[in-house]
């Protein structure tokens, strides 16, 4: 019993001293005359319009091995990762005409028309190896790039998909800050076994296009 009284008294004593201490603290703290208004600085990345992507269309001629040279057209997009390198994807459509044999023999065609559709996509890396400037009428300077391309993709032709390696070069001329004119020459190389044995075919494409930077 005595023990309990002691405990209660001690607790009360503790509380009393603590509250006195708290009052003293409050009295010592200086009066708040001016409430400091520190605005939190909002750290945001500067709003600069980034233009690293380039998309556009192209059209040209594709010389398909054993077939004619035919119209090719498609879409092309690039991501300019650094000033030197860009990642690029293309999708193109064309059609193989009759082979020389089919024309000369005059017999039944070897392939159905639907199988002659030539569609491809390729993914690759471009290297702006020769950046330059073109001077127009002495007063305007346009940026130009001569680039090399290396990539791989898939060609759907004669009812099969073929693993295709792409190599080429191109020229890009920026007509203003965001519109570019492109000239591309590329070789689509793939092994084809349509005529029995495996043969490596080179399918050369020459195309022009317009692209927009955004």
């Amino acid at each position: 019993m005595e023990n309990r009284y002691q405990r209660v008294l001690l607790t009360l004593l503790c509380c009393a001293t603590l509250s006195v201490q708290a009052q003293e603290d409050a009295a010592q703290s200086p009066l708040e005359v001016v409430r400091p208004q520190v605005e939190r600085r909002d750290v945001r990345p500067a709003a600069i319009d980034r233009q690293d992507f380039e998309v556009g269309t192209f059209a040209g001629l594709l010389s398909i091995a054993d077939f004619d040279a035919d119209l090719v057209y498609g879409l092309r997009g690039a991501w300019h990762v650094t000033e030197d390198f860009f990642l690029e994807a293309s999708y193109g459509l064309s059609q193989g005409d009759q082979t020389s044999f089919e024309k000369l023999s005059g017999g039944a065609p070897l392939f159905e028309d639907a199988d002659r559709d030539y569609t491809y996509y390729d993914l690759g890396v471009g290297w702006n190896v020769l950046p330059g400037e073109i001077f127009l009428f002495g007063s305007r300077a346009l940026k130009s790039d001569l680039y090399l391309l290396l990539g791989a993709g898939s060609t759907d032709f004669l009812d099969d998909n073929w693993f295709t390696v792409n190599a080429g070069a191109g020229y890009r001329l920026l007509l203003n800050d965001w519109l570019a004119w492109r000239l591309d020459v590329r070789d689509h190389i793939f092994d084809r076994d349509t005529f029995g044995e495996d043969e490596t075919t080179h399918n050369i494409e020459v195309s022009m296009g317009l692209t927009v930077f955004f």
């Binding site: 990345p45 500067a46 600069i48 879409l75 000033e83 690759g124 009812d159 073929w162």
Partner: protein, 253 residues
């Protein structure tokens, strides 16, 4: 000659129209970021590239507008209307209107370790066949990311397409050579070649485990080497097990 599908011509036309209609000047005025030079000077080049000539230097105290950015170069304009391209490292040393250093995310190794998105092209060997494709990854912590990959492979007897999702764990996100482990799942479509006796196309589920290495090259570019082991869950008695080795070039955003 084939008749071009109208959709392409429409696209090309729309592109040209958009190009001609979008006024370049309108872009410049709406909420342009501004900066003030605090270095002794910064060099302005005629075009975005380190090889282009410096034609003007903006001096300390000069105010510049930041018009647009292409790769590591920022097009700026001063009060006298002189326009040129400045490297982002130089812009990062300027200050904003309140005198604080301009907050600018430059393509540094630091930014690489803090990346949120990455994208890459992959090329390699899937069970002794050529394979290629692309992937997109999103980092939700510094160590963990989710990835979606679309791959195509080309064999002598069949070719196939695969769409997979994976979780990727990198052990040391701040390392230049950063190893990672991955588990994934997805679907695979296999098409036998037309030169063979026709068999049905088939679609199977796949699961994969793998490991690899990311190597930061410079600025936004890095290399990616990876190995994956796939289990293709076919309808037949045995599942197919396939090894895949790939090398890729990736970039982050």
């Amino acid at each position: 000659m084939l008749s071009a599908p109208p959709i392409l011509w429409v696209l090309a036309g729309a592109l040209l129209l958009a190009a001609l209609a979008a006024p370049g000047a309108a872009l410049a005025d709406a909420g342009v970021a501004r900066a003030r030079v605090v270095d002794a000077y910064i060099e302005m080049r005629t075009q975005p590239g380190r090889g282009y000539p410096v034609f003007y230097v903006a001096e300390r105290g000069e105010e510049i507008e930041l018009l647009r950015q292409r790769t590591s170069w920022i097009q700026v304009r001063n009060r006298r209307g002189i326009q040129g391209w400045v490297h982002e490292d130089d812009i990062a040393r300027t200050v904003d209107a309140s005198g604080e250093p301009l907050a600018l995310a430059t393509a540094s190794f630091e930014a690489y370790t803090q990346r949120n998105w990455e994208f890459g092209l992959l090329l390699g060997d899937y069970g002794d066949t050529d394979t290629l494709g692309g992937y997109l990854g999103w980092h939700f912590t510094r160590n963990l990311s989710v990835e979606v990959a679309a791959m195509e492979n080309f064999g002598d007897t069949s070719d196939g397409r695969m769409l997979t999702g994976s979780i990727v764990h990198q052990l040391y996100p701040r390392a230049r050579y950063s190893p990672f482990f991955t588990v994934g799942w997805g679907v695979r479509e296999t098409n036998p070649r037309s030169t063979l006796v026709s068999t049905e196309d088939r679609t199977d589920n796949v699961a994969s485990v793998g490991a690899g290495l990311r190597i930061h090259l410079y600025e936004r570019l890095f290399l990616r080497l990876q190995y994956k082991h796939y289990a293709v869950m076919t309808d037949r008695d045995d599942d197919e097990e396939v090894d895949e080795w790939k090398i890729g070039i990736s970039a982050f955003y």
